[in-house]
């Protein structure tokens, strides 16, 4: 009997997709390219900040006096801690403890919601002062050339970052549900790693926003 006439074995994936390690490599590379495009988005904003800080050094340096450094610093600790929890979730799922991984992810999600609440509190303070972006700027306590630019960039940069936090919360909530549904295991947890990388990027962007807007 010719070999071709025998029953063909069932192949779960076509050969050109390779093994699981190859698929993980491809997924990570694709995620890194996506994250690099996100970096370019924020780079445009950081470049605008650099140019206007160069043009109005005094106004941008004085700007921190009108920021709530306590709340900004608290938010930094909140985001860094949530990143640590996401990293612990991945080590847990690699050890086969998907329930514990879901709990860590839920903790990170709660901290992300806390970040947005604190940010909203800050926005309310600035809106009350009249430190609004663009032509709506009406803050008599800080009325020097360049002051309105500082607050315009503050609103745009932190606003776009907050949108990313919101998207990240959606990703984390999906991962919590999937982890507790037993969809991840020690051998398959690529979506958890990729979602975690997105959350870490959100953290990284804030790690630059915090010193530029609140500290220096």
């Amino acid at each position: 009997m010719r070999p071709e006439a025998s029953v063909r074995p069932v192949v779960p994936q076509a050969r050109h997709f390779g093994d699981e390690a190859s698929r993980q490599d491809a997924a990570h590379l694709g995620m890194w390219v996506f994250l690099a495009s996100e970096v370019m988005l924020f780079t445009a904003l950081f470049t605008a900040y650099a140019l206007y800080r160069y043009a109005y050094p005094d106004a941008f340096h004085q700007g921190r006096a009108y920021m709530d450094v306590g709340l900004g610093t608290l938010n930094t600790y909140v985001l860094v801690t949530s990143s640590i929890l996401v990293a612990l979730a991945i080590t847990s799922v690699r050890a086969g403890r998907d329930m514990r991984a879901g709990a860590f992810l839920l903790g990170a999600w709660v901290l992300g919601v806390g970040f947005l609440c604190i940010k909203g509190l800050e926005y309310a303070h600035h809106a009350h002062d009249g430190a609004l972006p663009g032509a709506w700027y009406d803050f008599d306590g800080f009325a020097v050339p360049g002051a309105s630019l500082f607050f315009t960039l503050y609103w745009v940069m932190t606003g776009i970052h907050a949108l990313h936090v919101l998207v990240g919360l959606g990703v984390l909530s999906t991962l919590v549900v999937r982890a507790w549904a037993g969809r991840f295991s020690a051998t398959y947890h690529t979506p958890l790693e990729l979602g975690g990388m997105y959350w870490h990027l959100v953290d990284i962007v804030w790690l630059f926003l915090w010193p530029l807007l609140y500290l220096a």
């Binding site: 990570h28 890194w32 206007y52 610093t73 801690t81 990143s83 009406d138 009325a143 530029l212």
Partner: protein, 123 residues
């Protein structure tokens, strides 16, 4: 267990660097403070990228993308600042709106009066 301990160690390092950045911001002022804060932020990004974002386990492509992204950031910000430093001050951009609209100043921007058309232009 070892993986969790490593992640906790990296996380502790991040929290310590955050505290260091905050403490130093109380001491330094001006450009030096800005540079110190950005260097600490870059160190934290290195820790997050290599340990939390798995770059330590992934050689090749991901590391290349990471390095390229940050090189492009440096090129864009650096070239814009170099160009701005070479300009005369009056050519610097005033911003997306009229500086005359700042609080405490006139709410209506000053405009040049319409030009009188000389009557000899019309026979």
């Amino acid at each position: 267990m070892a993986g969790s301990l490593k992640m906790l160690g990296v996380g502790l390092g991040l929290l310590v660097l955050t505290t260091l950045s905050f403490a130093l911001s109380r001491l330094h002022t001006g450009t030096l403070g800005l540079v110190v804060a950005l260097v600490i932020a870059a160190a934290k990004v290195g820790l997050i990228a290599f340990f939390f974002m798995h770059l330590s386990e992934r050689r090749g492509g991901p590391r290349l993308v990471f390095a390229t992204a940050f090189t492009f950031v440096a090129i864009l910000v650096g070239l814009v600042l170099v160009e701005a430093g070479d300009r005369a001050a009056p050519t610097m951009p005033p911003g997306p709106f009229q500086p005359l609209l700042l609080p405490g100043r006139a709410t209506v921007p000053k405009r040049a009066p319409p030009r009188e058309v000389p009557s000899e232009w019309f026979p």
